[in-house]
């Protein structure tokens, strides 16, 4: 009897094990079956448009019969997800990198794209990620950032007695901006706001608006004025010579904000956007992607026609002609380790997305991308107010927009260190000189392993 029981038990165990194996076997074969019919696996970077990609996949399958599988990495975890997905046998065929440094990390996986049709349609070839005359990343969206302002509040201010400016156009330098902002702070009760600027979110992981976007401006000026070759070795070190300019604007943000500087360590970007959307402040530094955040906040009081961009002035010389910071950190790459057929399929898909009528419509209306390709006519841009503004700034006469050179910053660790130094400075625990010294030092250290 005991023997029988033992045997039955053992048999059950073997069955269970066998069952497991059977399952994995069948799921494995189903994926290969799909690949035979032709499938694309895209690892998407932008969680805010994850649902749109499902629509795109449906439309693409309807038109071409090719299956498109889109997986979206959670916000801020793209590198992690890509690392683990790439190690699988069923790896993404289409993925993205964030610029030249991202390319260095993924160069073994980036296929040469110079012969793809999409690259031929790229308007400004200098935007692409290239190495040794070959093209490895094609930018697919152009974005811009600056100081977003709520014109309704500004108009209210311009009508007050002794206003320092009569219209937003008159604010064309740091000194003017400072004058206006400080006067607005003095009149904040009258204007019904808690502060001029939304809070300077400095929580770790939520500080990219300062350690990346704002820092781009002085660094870009430094490289521009020094005539630095951006693809060379010179970018391994910086002098941070325009640190005073960074401090100018950063201090202005801190001192005229809705939240006291010592409380900024727990503030998130969403807190800032909520303050702006609810009309508690007049300005916030962010980019055109923020429109979805502003629109999505319940009780939003900001009208669409009142939202505009102001360049981020830092007190540089002749900054009247400075525009927004316009560029990209989203580059399509095709997995070089995928089969040739799969690579071709991925290239066909991105070409379809940005040149077919259906694809273009999805891009401008659903994804809300300003696409840098000649297949788009001048009036084919997204109709949200911020994207419209960016498109307008791109085409403005006599304006010098600043590129997105932060793609050359030496990595996330550097940015995190800089962000935490900024927090210490805001809290009054670190002098500005020390912040500068640490930043210059850390840049060098963090560039060493690249």
């Amino acid at each position: 009897m005991k023997k029988l029981a033992a045997l039955t038990l053992a048999f059950c165990l073997v069955l269970a094990l066998g069952g497991c194996r059977g399952n994995t076997g069948s799921s494995g074969s189903s994926t290969t079956a799909v690949q035979k019919n032709g499938a694309i696996y895209y690892l998407n970077f932008k969680p805010e448009v994850a649902e749109v990609y499902q629509k795109i996949a449906e439309a693409y399958q309807k038109e071409t019969g090719v299956e498109l599988r889109v997986v979206t990495a959670a916000s801020g975890t793209y590198e992690q997800t890509l690392k683990s997905e790439m190690a699988k046998s069923d790896a993404p065929t289409l993925f993205q990198i964030n610029g030249p440094l991202g390319y260095l990390n993924w160069k073994d996986y980036c296929a040469d794209l110079s012969d793809t049709e999409l690259y031929r349609h790229l308007k400004d070839k200098s935007l692409a990620v290239t190495s040794g005359g070959k093209v490895y990343g094609i930018p697919y969206v152009v974005e811009g950032y600056g100081i977003i302002y709520n014109n309704a509040i500004l108009q209210k201010y311009f009508e007050t007695e002794g206003a320092k400016a009569a219209s937003a156009e008159q604010i064309n330098s740091f000194s003017k901006l400072q004058e206006v902002v400080e006067d607005m702070t003095a009149k904040k009760e009258q204007l019904g706001i808690d502060g001029v600027f939304a809070c300077t979110s400095l929580k770790p992981g939520e500080d990219w608006r300062w350690q990346t976007h704002l820092a781009n401006i002085p660094i870009s000026y430094e490289w521009m004025q020094g005539g630095v070759n951006l693809t060379g070795e010179e970018t391994r070190e910086i002098a941070f010579s325009y640190n005073e300019n960074f401090k100018n604007i950063f201090d202005l943000y801190l001192k005229n904000s809705t939240v006291a500087p010592k409380l900024l360590g727990s503030k998130q970007v969403m807190d800032s956007m909520a303050e702006f959307a609810l009309g508690k402040c007049a300005m916030v530094q962010n980019g055109n992607w923020a429109w979805n955040d502003i629109k999505g906040i319940e009780g939003n009081t900001v009208k669409e026609e009142d939202i505009h961009f102001l360049p981020i002035y830092t007190g540089m010389e002749a900054e009247e002609t400075q525009g927004l910071c316009i560029g990209t950190e989203n580059f399509f790459c095709i997995n070089a380790k995928a089969s040739e057929d799969d690579q071709k399929r991925a290239a066909d898909f991105i070409c379809w997305l940005f040149s077919s009528e259906t694809g273009k419509k999805l891009v401008t209306e659903e994804l809300g991308f300003i696409a840098p390709f000649d297949t788009f006519s001048a009036d084919e841009h997204p109709n949200d107010p911020l994207a419209g503004e960016v498109a307008a700034w791109m085409n403005k006469e006599g304006v010098r927009n600043i590129g997105w050179n932060f793609t050359l910053f030496p990595g996330q660790t550097f940015k995190d260190h800089f962000g935490s130094a900024l927090l210490q400075y805001a809290q009054g625990n670190m002098s500005w000189d020390e912040v500068v010294a640490r930043t210059v030092d850390d840049w060098k250290v963090q560039s060493a392993s690249r």
């Binding site: 005991k2 023997k3 033992a6 053992a10 165990l13 073997v14 269970a16 094990l17 590198e79 992690q80 690392k83 683990s84 790439m86 190690a87 440094l101 260095l104 990390n105 993924w106 073994d108 996986y109 400095l202 929580k203 770790p204 992981g205 006291a260 010592k262 409380l263 900024l264 360590g265 727990s266 030496p410 990595g411 996330q412 660790t413 550097f414 995190d416 260190h417 935490s420 130094a421 927090l423 210490q424 809290q427 625990n429 250290v445 963090q446 392993s449 690249r450």
Partner: protein, 281 residues
């Protein structure tokens, strides 16, 4: 029975062995290998020898600093959790009114996930510090003690249950004998109760020590290392190294191997130390 056990030994041990090899041994050995390589994805590696281990200490001070914080935190929280849990267990085995209700209430925090707890306590602590016009990132002390409070709040209930189980198993005759011999309550606790619940103490110190040492979620959600990584513990430092900079994955992996060794040594030492004090009932 003995004979058939021997006969079917392989059959019975096989499933567990297979699971153990697939889910633990292979990944562990592979991880060990990765710590000696430079890699982007785990399938694309390049042998670099001991470089990662050297860089773990020479690139910056983060690892040693995190080790210091972790050691301090582990000592403080393991002591406080065990003392408080034991105290509660003593109180709740006296047959007071509402004992069951209290046991449930104290156990509840253990059912909430670490990330959620981290965010909740961040709100609470920031709310308190708001009176002083600062927040939790202002001073590393706030983050450290915040983490201790959080850990206590979460772990006490669980350890309490283990202690209660131990206390309920105490043989009444020994205590009775002590009482007849005229032992004071303190003497009874010190000379009878504690030696008798030593197995529970072993398991509780083991759990608190290793859990505190390996803490990640709560650390990540409460401060994420702010200010300036001064509250980043080992697990968080490994995570930051691994994902922070291109080319540092191997260094993170090397730190993880060192981390494993430390946890293993501490756990082994602790088990040996407390085991030796256990008494046969």
């Amino acid at each position: 029975m003995q004979k058939s056990l021997r006969k079917y030994f392989a059959v019975f041990v096989l499933p567990t062995l297979v699971a153990f090899v697939i889910a633990f041994l292979l990944p562990f050995l592979f991880g060990l290998y990765l710590s000696f390589t430079r890699f982007t994805t785990v399938t694309n590696t390049q042998w670099v020898g001991l470089e990662n281990y050297i860089r773990a200490f020479t690139d910056n001070n983060d690892f040693l600093h995190a080790l210091g914080i972790t050691a301090a935190f582990t000592v403080v929280s393991a002591c406080s959790v065990n003392l408080l849990a034991f105290g509660l267990a003593l109180l709740l085995t006296r047959g007071l009114r509402g004992t069951n209700l209290f046991r449930t209430v104290f156990f509840m925090p253990n059912l909430i996930g670490g990330i959620v707890l981290g965010y909740i306590w961040q709100l609470i602590i920031n709310g308190l510090l708001l009176r002083a016009g600062v927040d939790i990132t202002y001073d590393p002390k706030y983050g450290f003690w915040g983490l201790v409070v959080l850990m206590n709040w979460q772990m006490i209930g669980y350890m309490m249950i283990i202690y209660i189980a131990g206390l309920q198993n105490l043989p009444g005759d020994v205590l009775e004998a002590a009482e007849i011999d005229g032992a004071s309550p303190w003497q009874k606790l010190r000379r009878v109760t504690i030696p008798m619940v030593m197995p529970s103490i072993t398991i509780c110190t083991f759990l608190t020590l290793t859990n505190s040492f390996k803490l990640f979620d709560q650390n990540f959600a409460l401060t994420a290392g702010a200010p300036m990584k001064k509250t980043a513990m080992l697990a968080l430092d490994i995570y930051n190294t691994f994902y922070g900079r291109i080319g540092d994955e191997g260094v993170g992996q090397a730190k993880a191997v060192l981390f494993f060794l430390m946890v293993a040594v501490i756990a082994a030492l602790q088990l040996r130390a407390t085991r030796s004090r256990e008494v046969e009932q």
